[in-house]
């Protein structure tokens, strides 16, 4: 195993003076499923953005496969809470976007889209427009589009945040399975502690702003785990409780009325 993403003393101060994160040192191994938790505004999205090369750190550097990230890092793919599907394209049309950009032929695209629809469980919905789909189905469509251009690293920013519990569990299971079979490295930001424990091989805990890494917890759960029955697993419950204890002070501070 080799580190695919390395943060070296990374800090980010925005032009408006907000110091989002500072002193970040972290190595993400290839094939890892890393979850990131922390109070809101602690810079979780910021570190994903720097990994994708959407902006540069103001201190230190982010290395991707040993090279500093200086521009758009197209070996990574992004998925956010908002699915950003194009409303004027059908589901199939949305999934085809990266394939069209890559200049693939019509026939090839059609075949590839069918394969991806099957992969995410959307067979028969290719001709629907995004507005005609449920939230969960839209997420699947966004996931299929992400997989269409086959980035080796998936950057996921609270992707299942807006879904109901059952839909979220279904998608978590599917994501976990797909990433294992496709060998993806995943950097998964969430504000949901249970989700962070359930999905992560490692869980990175952030302090409140300016965000620094408070702790990296390596999961005691096996990498191959049954998310359906996880809630009955005492090791899982213990890890959730541990993470709660670590985060509680920061969350309390956030809720206190004195906060500026």
């Amino acid at each position: 195993m080799s580190a695919i993403i390395v943060f070296q003393d990374v800090g980010k101060a925005f032009a408006n003076g907000v110091q989002a994160v500072s002193g970040i040192n972290l190595a993400v191994e290839e094939g890892d499923f890393i979850t990131v938790v922390g109070p809101s505004g602690c810079g979780k999205s910021t570190i994903l953005n720097m990994t994708a090369g959407l902006f540069q750190p103001s201190a230190g550097q982010v290395l991707y496969r040993g090279q500093p990230v200086t521009g758009i890092n197209s070996r990574t793919g992004y998925m956010t809470q908002v699915d950003h599907l194009l409303p004027w394209r059908t589901v199939a049309g949305n999934i085809a976007v990266p394939l069209e950009i890559a200049g693939r032929g019509k026939k090839e695209i059609a075949g590839e889209v069918e394969r991806l629809l099957a992969l995410v469980g959307l067979v028969g919905f290719g001709a629907s427009y995004p507005t005609q789909l449920s939230g969960g189905m839209r997420k699947r469509a966004a996931l299929a589009r992400l997989l269409a251009y086959d980035p080796e690293t998936l950057l996921m920013d609270e992707p299942f945040g807006a879904l109901d519990a059952q839909m979220r569990l279904t998608l978590q299971i599917q994501l976990k399975k797909l990433c294992r079979s496709l060998g993806k490295t995943v950097f998964f930001v969430t504000h949901d502690i249970d989700e962070a424990v359930a999905l992560g091989d490692k869980c990175v805990v952030f302090t409140s702003r300016p965000g620094t890494i408070q702790q990296v917890i390596t999961s005691s759960l096996p990498s191959e785990r049954d998310l359906m029955t996880l809630r009955f697993n005492p090791a899982y419950a213990e890890e959730c409780a541990q993470l709660w204890r670590i985060l509680a002070p920061a969350l309390e501070a956030q809720n206190s009325p004195q906060e500026a």
Binding site: A52, L54, I72, N73, S74, T76, G77, Y78, T80, V82, H84, L86, P87, W88, R89, V97, P98, E100, I101, A102, Y129, T131, Q132, Y149, P151
Partner: protein, 254 residues
């Protein structure tokens, strides 16, 4: 149901007009529906209505296409180029605040009193409306959406064809829709100030002869023309934006 009520309302209004106008001794000012209809039919029979309407349609239509096309082009160009739009912004604002119809006399100096002058007057008015809407539409495209496409290795040309133009088109159509009456204003004002053809000419000619019925008939023809242009826009909008139809078919849920 709505249609029935609408028809009933129209009948009531027309009847009231027909009888109150002579009763209040207002025929000179507002004529009567019957006289207007007769005048309209007379104009239509003689072919002069079609002739004048054709001229106005040509001017407004070409002005609309010219101004709309230029407006879209400029909107996309400036929408995607921050420096250019920042530099041009004060000039555009100054020009925008000018009532475009006031350019009529200048345009007569430059382009004469022929069709060109009306086409360009209509185009100038339409240009600004479409430009501003397109610009807004291009600027409204979410930066995250663009970032996601860039991660897919999208070049500017992909961004334009796959995201920016399709997402701006809703705004463009809003601008075009808004422009229809203005294109007519451009053409008609042009005709009123200098012409011997077109519905604007018919309007001012009838009015100058104290022919109220003829004036109203010309106004009616202008309204019909505007409705037809709107309908054409409706149809092309539906053709170009099929996903909106699927939106409309959706039931409202909270």
């Amino acid at each position: 149901m709505v249609l029935v009520l609408q028809l009933a309302l129209a009948v009531v209004l027309l009847t009231a007009w027909q009888f109150l106008s002579p009763a209040l001794d207002m025929v000179f000012f507002i004529s009567t529906p019957q006289a207007i209809a007769e005048s309209f039919i007379g104009l239509a029979r003689s072919g002069s209505l079609l002739f004048h309407a054709g001229i106005t349609t040509l001017e407004a239509g070409l002005g609309f296409l010219l101004g709309g096309g230029a407006g879209m082009f400029a909107g996309v160009l400036l929408g995607r180029n921050k420096l250019l739009s920042d530099v041009l912004q004060p000039f555009l604002t100054a020009f925008y605040s000018l009532p475009k119809a006031a350019l009529g006399p200048l345009f007569i100096l430059w382009f004469g009193i022929g069709l060109n002058m009306k086409i360009l007057l209509a185009a100038t008015i339409v240009f600004f409306i479409v430009f501003l809407n397109t610009f807004r539409g291009v600027r409204e495209v979410s930066p995250e959406q663009i970032a996601i496409l860039r991660l897919m290795n999208a070049k500017e040309r992909h961004l334009l064809t796959k995201v920016i133009l399709p997402s701006a088109i809703v705004w463009v159509f809003a601008g075009l829709r808004l422009s229809v009456p203005y294109a007519l204003i451009g053409a008609i004002v042009g005709e009123i100030i200098a012409s011997n053809r077109g519905l604007g000419y018919l309007l001012s000619y009838s009015a100058s002869r104290f022919d109220t019925a003829g004036t109203f008939a010309a106004l009616g023809a202008i309204v019909i023309l505007a409705l037809i242009l709107n309908k054409i826009l409706d149809i092309s909008e539906r053709r170009l934006m099929p996903w909106r139809v699927s939106d409309a078919g959706r039931e409202i849920v909270v």
